[in-house]
């Protein structure tokens, strides 16, 4: 019996439950649908319609949190703050604690938006007092204030949170960020350093955060001061020193930065890598003295480590830049060898690299650089030949080897071995048909033909190069071909052009005395010929290259004054002014020449450069 009675009862209960659920589901669906409709109205900026629906829904479902929130938002969006406040105040009471505090903070926000800052502040104070020491309450209020851009008040709340909870580590990232926003750079930096003291791995994070505000007035100086103090108190904190070193680099205080990077290295990997990285950055910035010291120090670690190889190459490259910046020359005005400190260092450093790291894949490039230094700076053709030969034989089939063969051909020209040069270039032309090297080699063949006076052969080579317009040699080829075309005669052998070609070869071989002698002699014969001005230019250039600045300037000026309609007149005057400005350090004289140039050639292609020089001299004199 019991069982029979139980079964119908159970069925009835299930049926009732199902009915109730169905009814409840329909009701929820209606609320959801109408809520969705209200949101659509909101999206379409039909706020009043949305409010009507939400108000009705609130009567039906007063405890529905979603409805309540949407209604508050809707009121707020049309600045009906009092209505929004009424909804908040009319909500179901919650016990004192986090939820109540959030509600008070919400009311404070609405009071603030309606312009009642005093009430807003008192509500925020009340919210905190509900449960002093609950960190989440401070965090919630902070977020509300941040949304209102009340940055200073947000700072005060977080600071109070720290005091009230007694947890000095709370809100570290929040405060670091906020302090930065309110120009409290000292506070910001202290927070970041505290963060680093807990986790050294955050250096990159901190650097990224700081770099966002580095340009604010006074920010970087304050960061440095704070970081200096912190480092003084905790000199063993590597991350502090990394940040301080980076800040010094940002303000280009390289000596101080060096000190910090040194410490970073000592406190870290102790392999010189940090110092090498510093050296690279400083060399890039042109602070060669400091970079030099840093490279030396990086090299003082394990001499066989990969850092040492990198440092040697970096050091050599820097010395070359340094020498270029100083316009260093390995020869004096009389052609005598003189010390060229940085070029000499560069060469010696590269040699050390080869000795210490003979298996390094960069050796071919290093040999090539050494060869160019020998040829272009020290004018030691035999040594240059030896280095290029090494590249060619030790690294066969490499791109460096092909380039080295071209350079060997050029060296043959410099040694006046034109036959050998022709053989080398011809081989490159046939073996490296499509490469840039082949085009360069063919141009060299054309030049050799000019030097020999074989102008027809030169024209043939040049016309082939011109067909390849993408080639870097094409412009030079076109220019040389036009020159040959324009300067024929005075006889059928184009003797003047042949003589000019031989003089150009002497100039290329740096046989300046011979150039002067040849030019003077030829000018007596071909004074009226088209090549005369070119010979005069060669003569002046030879004087300049030989370091005879004053004579060179006079030669350039004489050319321009005697032949003002010559195509060389403007370049000659420009070079004369440059010599006066740079070699003779006569700024006033150079200014006169530049001004004269501008009045006579104001529409030439060189005019912008002339104007730049005038403005530069003017500004340097101010």
């Amino acid at each position: 019996m019991r069982c029979k009675t139980f079964i119908p009862l159970a069925v009835a209960f299930l049926a009732f439950t199902a009915l109730t659920s169905t009814y409840g589901q329909e009701s929820d669906n209606t609320v959801d649908l109408r809520l969705e409709l209200a949101e659509m109205y909101m999206g379409a900026s039909q706020v009043e319609r949305a409010i009507n629906i939400l108000e009705q829904l609130r009567e039906v479902a007063p405890e529905n949190i979603l409805v309540r929130q949407r209604l508050i938002s809707a009121y707020e969006s049309v600045k009906r703050y009092d209505d929004a406040l009424a909804v908040v105040a009319d909500s179901k009471p919650v016990p004192d604690g986090y939820d109540a505090a959030v509600r008070l903070s919400e009311m404070a926000r609405l009071h603030f938006l309606r312009g009642d800052e005093q009430t807003a502040d008192s509500l925020w104070v009340a919210a905190v007092e509900l449960e002093e020491g609950n960190s989440e309450i401070y965090r919630s209020i902070y977020h509300t204030m941040l949304g209102l851009r009340l940055l200073h008040r947000a700072v005060a709340v977080l600071e109070q949170g720290r005091r009230d909870t007694g947890q000095l580590l709370l809100f570290r990232t929040e405060l670091a960020y906020l302090y930065g926003l309110v120009d409290n750079h000292e506070g910001s930096m202290k927070e970041y350093l505290d963060l680093l003291s807990e986790n050294e791995q955050l250096v990159v994070y901190v650097r990224n955060r700081l770099s966002r505000v580095l340009e604010q007035t006074g920010a970087v100086d304050t960061y440095i001061t704070v970081a200096e103090n912190a480092t003084a108190e905790a000199p063993g904190y590597r991350s502090y020193r990394e940040i301080l070193g980076w800040l010094y680099l940002e303000v280009e205080d390289y000596p101080e930065a060096f000190r910090e990077y040194r410490a970073v290295d000592r406190l870290g990997s102790q392999d010189g890598r940090a110092i090498f990285n510093f050296a690279e950055q400083v060399a890039e910035a042109g602070a060669y003295d400091i970079a030099l010291a840093a490279y030396d120090e990086a090299l003082a670690y394990d001499p066989d480590a990969i850092v040492a190889a990198d440092a040697l190459l970096g050091l050599a490259h820097m010395h070359q830049l340094w020498a270029d910046a100083n316009r260093e020359s390995a020869f004096d005005a009389h052609g005598n060898r003189q010390p060229a400190e940085h070029y000499d260092y560069a060469f010696a450093t590269l040699r050390t690299f080869l000795q210490r790291f003979p298996d390094d894949p960069r050796c071919a490039d290093v040999l090539g650089t050494m060869a160019r230094l020998q040829r272009d700076v020290f004018h030691r053709l035999d040594q240059a030949t030896a280095f290029f030969t090494d590249v060619s034989t030790q690294f066969p089939d490499s791109p460096q080897s092909v380039r080295a063969q071209l350079e060997l051909g050029r060296l043959a020209i410099l040694r006046d071995d034109l036959d050998q040069a022709e053989v080398t270039m011809q081989r490159l032309v046939t073996t490296a048909i499509v490469s840039e090297v082949a085009e360069d080699a063919r141009y060299e063949l054309a030049q050799v033909a000019v030097y020999r006076g074989h102008l027809e052969e030169a024209r043939w080579h040049l016309s082939i190069i011109e067909e390849s317009t993408a080639s870097s040699a094409a412009n030079d080829a076109l220019s040389l071909r036009l020159f040959i075309l324009d300067h024929g005669g005075p006889d059928s052998t184009d003797a003047a052009l042949g003589a000019w070609g031989r003089t150009v070869l002497l100039q290329r071989q740096r046989r300046f005395s011979a150039v002067l002698e040849a030019a003077d002699s030829l000018l007596k014969v071909y004074a009226e010929h088209g090549v005369a001005d070119d010979l005069r230019m060669l003569r002046a250039m030879a004087l300049h290259e030989a370091g005879r600045s004053k004579e060179a300037r006079n030669a350039f000026l004489a050319l321009a004054l005697a032949h003002p309609n010559s195509v060389h007149a403007l370049p000659a005057l420009l070079t004369a002014a440059g010599i006066q400005e740079a070699d003779m350090q006569d700024q006033a004289g150079a200014l006169t020449v530049y001004s004269d140039l501008l009045s006579r050639y104001g529409t030439s292609l060189h005019a912008p450069e002339i104007r730049r020089r005038i403005l530069a001299i003017r500004s340097s004199g101010e």
């Binding site: 900026s45 706020v47 707020e76 969006s77 049309v78 600045k79 938006l113 949304g147 209102l148 851009r149 926003l181 770099s211 966002r212 505000v213 340009e215 604010q216 001004s595 501008l598 009045s599 104001g602 529409t603 005019a607 912008p608 104007r611 005038i614 403005l615």
Partner: protein, 394 residues
């Protein structure tokens, strides 16, 4: 200043220099592209040469013939004497922003002396010291240029922070209130005889701000509270200088301030090769001011877009003169008007030599655009105040 001129932009700087040196300069309106005539001197010739400015030395008799030709009744030409170099202020923040400012570029390239001022200077009355004020890519509505998509970029944060601090410093709750006060000061400056030149968003946002004194048109994304639901009804177009009956854009994500701006051309025409605007020709003898502002060596100028690309004609107030328009579009590109004792000139678009200048793009190198007709229009404005007579001593 016709096609023979080698550097139109530097020519304005050279004229400014001559005025500074005490020379009087005649501006020959509509004569060979708006050329200048002045007595020669060795110093002047050297300066012209250094600045790459083409000049012709004329004998006295030829000068007399040119003057007679210009003053002839039948020709639409005139002579305006320039006497005093105007004191120029450019309204720009100290912060470096990731876009260029066409007027600062033009003034710097042309070597025209100018001073950069901003909100603090204007609110402390410094504007009175200047004859000419320029505004470029500025937002007087207090919406930080409506660069909401860049809100997490350091430059945006810095811009927002400094603007909010300046507002608080001057006792305003919102940046929009500060900017309104600045706009009002500028309006008083113009009313008192100042010359205002604005470009890009410095034009429409200026008027929008003036119209919105009694309401809030700034979305919550920019000032923390929503716009006033009755904002449209509370806009007061009587307060504005150039525009009326416009509707501000209330969408924070839309990179547009109002429907004053016609926006970039439709996509088939959004092409630097096809987009251009034409300058109106005015009577040089009867309308010297608009004539001065439109002096150029070309009649059609290549178009360029900006946050404000063109002004919808139907929103121009009566009395505003259209100096240039885009053909077949309801768009004025360059307008001019008077207010009180002063005048205002608005030029739509961002950079005359960069068709679409995006945030982060490098500044235009004017060495590559020495003869830019679009930039010439900017520089016409700096000489226009120089046409005022010097005060007589007695």
């Amino acid at each position: 200043m016709d096609a023979r001129q080698t550097n139109h932009l530097k020519a304005y700087g050279a004229i400014y220099w001559a005025l500074q040196e005490g020379h009087e300069v005649d501006w020959l309106l509509n004569y060979r592209g708006g050329s200048f005539l002045m007595p020669t001197s060795a110093g002047l010739l050297a300066e012209l040469a250094v600045r790459e400015v083409y000049y012709e030395s004329l004998a006295g008799a030829i000068v007399a013939r040119v003057v007679a030709e210009i003053e002839a009744e039948a020709s639409n030409t005139a002579i305006v004497r320039l006497q005093t170099p105007p004191r120029i202020a450019v309204y720009a923040p100290k912060q470096t922003l990731p876009w260029d400012d066409a007027v600062l570029l033009a003034l710097t390239y042309a070597e025209v002396p100018h001073e950069v001022i901003y909100d603090d200077d204007i609110l402390t009355g410094k504007l009175e010291a200047f004859d000419w004020l320029h505004l470029h890519h500025e937002d007087f509505t207090g919406q930080h240029g409506k660069f909401y998509q860049y809100r997490n970029m350091p430059w945006y944060e810095e811009q927002q922070r400094t603007a909010e601090e300046a507002a608080l410093r001057h006792g305003f709750r919102k940046v929009s209130h500060l900017k309104y006060a600045v706009a009002l000061s500028i309006k008083e400056y113009v009313s008192g005889g100042g010359f205002l030149f604005a470009m890009c968003s410095g034009t429409d946002t200026y008027d929008i701000a003036l119209s919105a004194q009694a309401t809030d048109i700034v979305p919550a994304e920019y000032d923390g509270d929503p716009i006033d639901p009755g904002a449209m009804e509370k806009l007061n177009y009587e307060n504005t200088l150039a525009f009326s009956d416009f509707r501000p854009s209330f969408n924070a994500a839309e990179y547009e301030h109002s429907n004053i701006d016609t926006g970039p051309p439709p996509s088939p025409l959004r092409n630097p090769a096809l987009d251009f605007f034409t300058l109106f020709v005015f009577s040089a003898k009867w309308d010297p001011v608009p004539t001065m502002l439109t002096q150029n060596h070309v009649a059609s100028v290549r178009g360029f877009v900006g946050q404000t690309t063109g002004f919808r004609k139907q929103m121009l107030k009566p009395g505003v003169v259209i100096l240039a328009e885009t053909p077949h579009r309801d768009e004025a590109k360059y307008i001019h008007g008077s207010f009180g004792e002063g005048t205002f000139t608005f030029y739509a678009g961002h950079d005359p030599e960069d068709y679409q200048h995006f945030v982060g793009d490098p500044p235009t190198d004017l060495n590559l655009h020495k003869n830019s007709p679009g930039y010439r229009l900017i520089l016409n404005n700096i000489l226009f105040p120089a046409a005022r007579k010097k005060k007589q001593r007695t």
